[in-house]
């Protein structure tokens, strides 16, 4: 649907986007995730042809968008856009929704019918005559969504559509996004800094960091196999660095980190420096004094609890096993097992749950024996 090639944007000395290559498939929900200020909004604005790139191309449905202003307007009219902070004009809700139709010369009863249909879609059927400026943030964002959808765009662009909303309103918007994608087969490109939202909605995810598209893939790819420490940290994994592959028997590797030996699956050969990525949800903790039941978990690493940070219904427990391992445990099990800082525990991690990447800076190292 949209093909982006070698896209760059500079503002003076500042490079906002660097060599972006991306292909958006028709009918998919593609989510751009990345920290604030990484260039997500700029990329979305470039796709909507609100800005012009310094270099590179954007093809819409096979056609180059680098054309006359009239040509760009024609492409833009096949897309809909919802901004992070919805801007409503000082008129009624229906008046706001009607703008896109008005600009395209749709008037009279057809305009009225389509506006009503769009308002029904977002669940604001009764709101037509109300002043748009009196709406709540969530309602305004739904009006913005109706306003974008009223022209039945082929591509819907959403820039952090739930960033300023309460959880209930955010969920409503998320449901609407899924509904629009299913019912109208609209291709949706959205940005978010909420990686959970990205995971929930997206068919595919692209990670943008410092203006570069650093990884594209399904949510499983991104969340379990992040390509690098920065991405890992963004998706909630602290990398364990300084590992060395001691031996590797047909993909089954033994990795030594400090004084600990860890089994993991990787193709990286012996002697190489690696970093390990373990999702906190994949780590089990058992008190050291109660012997763990026999299990298929290959790595049983003893240590003591260094830090416990509440995170919603969970507690992030950092265990010092000479290397730091983080586990995500429910509050209930924490209480039941009597965990507190200083408790001696055994961290269990399956060999398959460890993602191994070459460590930055591959220095030749001495061979260690486990």
């Amino acid at each position: 649907m949209i093909e982006i090639g070698h896209l760059s944007l500079r503002f003076g000395e500042r490079e906002i986007l660097k060599d972006i290559n991306l292909r958006i498939r028709p009918g998919e929900i593609f989510t751009l995730i990345g920290p604030s200020g990484s260039g997500k909004t700029t990329l979305i604005r470039l796709i909507d042809l609100l800005e012009s790139p310094t270099a590179g191309t954007i093809f819409f449905d096979g056609q180059d968008t680098a054309t006359s202003e009239a040509g760009r307007l024609a492409f833009r009219r096949r897309m809909g856009m919802v901004f992070q902070k919805p801007a409503v004009l000082n008129t009624t809700v229906a008046g706001n929704v009607a703008f896109g139709l008005k600009f395209r010369g749709v008037t009279g009863t057809e305009q009225e019918e389509r506006v009503n249909k769009a308002l029904r879609l977002v669940g604001l059927a009764e709101f037509g005559p109300r002043r748009a400026l009196t709406l709540s943030g969530g309602e305004m964002q739904r009006v913005a969504l109706a306003r974008a959808m009223v022209t039945e765009p082929e591509v819907l662009l959403l820039d952090e559509p739930t960033a300023n909303l309460d959880p209930v309103s955010a969920e409503l918007i998320e449901d609407l996004i899924l509904k629009i994608n299913r019912e109208f087969k609209t291709t949706i490109i959205m940005s978010t800094h909420d990686m959970i939202q990205g995971q929930r909605l997206a068919d595919r995810i692209g990670v943008i960091m410092d203006g570069k598209l650093v990884q594209t893939g399904t949510s499983t790819d991104i969340f379990y196999q992040p390509m690098g420490q920065k991405i890992a940290r963004f998706v909630g994994i602290e990398a364990i660095t300084g590992g060395i592959v001691v031996e590797n028997t047909s993909g089954h590797a033994l990795i030594r980190v400090k004084d600990t030996c860890i089994e993991a699956l990787t193709g990286i050969g012996a002697g190489k420096r690696v970093a390990l990525y373990i999702r906190p949800e994949e780590v089990t903790l058992t008190p050291t004094d109660s012997l763990p039941p026999k299990s298929s978990v290959r790595n049983q690493i003893p240590g003591w609890i260094k830090r416990m940070v509440p995170s919603g219904p969970f507690i992030r427990v950092t265990v010092d096993c000479t290397i730091p391992i983080t586990a995500l445990i429910t509050r209930r099990s924490c209480t039941e097992l009597g965990f507190s800082p200083g408790s001696l525990v055994t961290a269990g991690v399956k060999a398959t749950a460890i993602h191994v990447l070459p460590d930055e800076g591959e220095n030749p190292v001495n061979k260690f024996i486990c």
Partner: protein, 264 residues
């Protein structure tokens, strides 16, 4: 001799009780003013009507020029834009007599536009007041348009607006602030005396307006007439403001509040 003593004692009286004397003048003036207004004194009415005609014409003319030009300046990027805006803002405070002088030189018999014969005519005064209020109106139109958030402009473009559709909607969005700019221009026009005096010449029955009449009558000690004209001047301003309120009160209450209009 008697007259001399009389004059002398009167001056002494004024020195001893100046407040009392002026207070008397004022109360007498007010009662005279009420009389002149209630009886619809033809001269007073003629002066008021001419004032309204000249200042309203100047306001309309200035608006017709200032709104599109202000819009052009706001919506286009060009070299020296900031300098131009600063210049326009500086002209907000240009003395009316300076505008009077410049326009006088332009339209006097030997000036470049002398052939139009505008000096000492109401039309010449309209021209002068138009020149006087264009900067303030244009400057305020530019700030009014600048006050419309950039996100509105982005939203309109994203919704598929052409260049002119976008400008139209943004001007519409800034309508209340633009209306204020026009009203302020009218206020400056009807209240000024420099241009009216220099270009109009304060000719009785021809170019005499409220402000120049007040100047003249006060100078001649006819306070009653002056006060009557002053009251009428304020009444005209009141009528304009009330009319504006009536226009905006066509909207419902919350719209007025959000537009910065009157409440209730």
């Amino acid at each position: 001799m008697i007259i001399g003593i009389n004059l002398f004692s009167r001056i002494r009286l004024l020195r001893t009780f100046p407040e009392w004397t002026r207070l008397n003048d004022i109360t007498e003036g007010i009662s005279q003013a009420i009389h002149l207004i209630v009886t619809l004194n033809p001269e007073v009415m003629q002066i008021a009507a001419l004032s309204l005609y000249i200042s309203l014409s100047a306001t309309i003319l200035a608006a017709v020029i200032a709104i599109p030009v202000g819009g052009f300046i706001h919506f286009h990027e060009f070299r020296g834009k900031r300098v131009l805006i600063v210049l326009i803002q500086t002209l907000y405070s240009v003395p009316t007599v300076v505008v009077g002088l410049v326009v006088y030189l332009m339209i006097s018999r030997s000036g470049p536009f002398g052939f139009l014969g505008l000096l000492f005519t109401p039309e010449g005064m309209i021209l002068g007041q138009t020149v006087l209020i264009i900067p303030i109106m244009m400057g305020l139109v530019i700030s009014a348009l600048g006050g419309v958030d950039k996100s509105i402009s982005d939203t309109l473009i994203a919704l598929g607006a052409t260049g002119s559709q976008k400008i139209f909607e943004i001007v519409k969005e800034a309508r209340y602030a633009i209306l204020s700019a026009v009203v302020l221009g009218f206020g400056r026009a009807i209240a000024e005396v420099g241009v009216a005096m220099m270009i109009g010449g304060n000719i009785r029955g021809h170019t005499r307006v409220l402000t120049t009449a007040i100047t003249l009558e006060t100078g001649m000690g006819k306070f009653g007439f002056s006060i009557a004209l002053g009251i009428i001047l304020l009444a005209v301003a009141l009528i304009v403001v009330v009319t504006l309120n009536l226009i905006t009160s066509g909207l419902d209450r919350d719209a007025q509040q959000l537009a910065g209009g009157p409440r209730g």
